[in-house]
Symmetry: C2
Subunit: 211 residues, 2 copies
């Protein structure tokens, strides 16, 4: 059994990045989030403008909805190709992480979808009730925002749009993940252990099936 690959999708305030970082540390595998993957893209010739455009588009739910309603053809080939090219490059990079055998924890970026045919990847979705997400965002992320409820909703909306645009699937539907946890305001290390216990269960089963 090679090193573990775990993808984490998460609602804003559910502790996804903290869980991901702790998981990567405990498993001794690399940790990848949007910032890191964007930097890698930059090193590979993608400009900051392209990435900002991708970001902007995900935030603009109207544009995304339109694309969703009329299919990707609605955009016009030029605009689409930059956006799609950027996504495809990250898609390839994530695939290569999984193929490398060095393992990794990948946050967001539709990684569950990208790795859907890799039987060794475990896909996790973290969510929580609004109040506990705010509690965590304020206490653990240090966010001071008078409109925090709106911020939470906007970030998740952008994530759902981004996911639907690139995968055609609904973000946060259990069928896309192996494990969905209401992380509430539970301790990060407890959630990490729960995920690892599940990964072990799956790995053990795969070993038995292979015997």
């Amino acid at each position: 059994m090679g090193k573990k690959i775990i993808t984490i999708s998460r609602e804003f305030g559910s502790g996804g990045r903290l869980v991901g970082a702790a998981l990567a540390k405990k498993l001794d595998v690399p940790y990848y989030d949007k910032k890191i993957l964007d930097n890698i893209a930059k090193e590979n010739g993608f400009s900051a403008e392209m990435m900002a455009e991708d970001e902007m588009r995900a935030k603009n739910s109207f544009l995304y909805s339109l694309t969703n309603a009329f299919g990707t053809a609605g955009y016009g080939p030029d605009t689409l190709s930059i956006n799609e090219r950027f996504f495809m490059a990250q898609f390839d990079y994530i695939t290569n992480i999984a193929k490398s055998g060095e393992g990794g924890v990948i946050i967001g970026r539709c990684a569950d979808y990208v790795l859907r045919d890799f039987r060794d990847a475990t896909n996790v979705f973290l969510y929580a009730e609004e109040d506990t997400k705010i509690e965590r965002a304020v206490n653990e992320y240090g966010i001071k925002d008078e409109n925090i409820r709106k911020t939470l909703a906007d970030v998740d909306k952008a994530r759902a749009n981004y996911y639907r645009y690139h995968t055609g699937r609904k973000w946060g539907e259990p069928v896309n993940y192996h494990l969905c946890i209401d992380s509430g305001y539970l301790p990060i290390d407890g959630i990490v252990d729960l995920i690892l216990d599940y990964v072990d269960l799956r790995d053990k089963r795969k070993e038995e099936a292979a015997e």
Copy 2:
């Protein structure tokens, strides 16, 4: 901390009843499923015909969809009241289980919704890929059915209809549960331990919050 209350919603073939029974045994609390709750209803004056009608209605997706599209008023008051009365009686019974302090594991029956305001209840949803559900249904439930794919889909459709009809919510959406597990063809005792670890995390957190 009183005895545990755990509700289990599950796709057909995901091992929900086996997990529930093993959980109840391990926690030393009563186990409730549809059959047991129907028997209790019968003892309390509900006729087998009423229960059969409720069952039939959940299976008839057209009737359920119609009700969903036009609101409950679409049915006519007489039909509705029998159906609703039966649901309300089970609703009350499930609420009383939670209030009794004696704990319990409750399978199906919209128990997650019924107990949504009981902070001590943990709601679990079990699902799996079709092939592993069939594997379990054949090997563990002993089902011999040439149209097993259709049976699986029909049973889940009835469950989703029943849930939507009585709760107005979508069955299997993470927001309705604390923990959603792709139970695959994983061993029952492993899933049981995972659920108990999560329940312990939540209980510990509640104790800390109460201090």
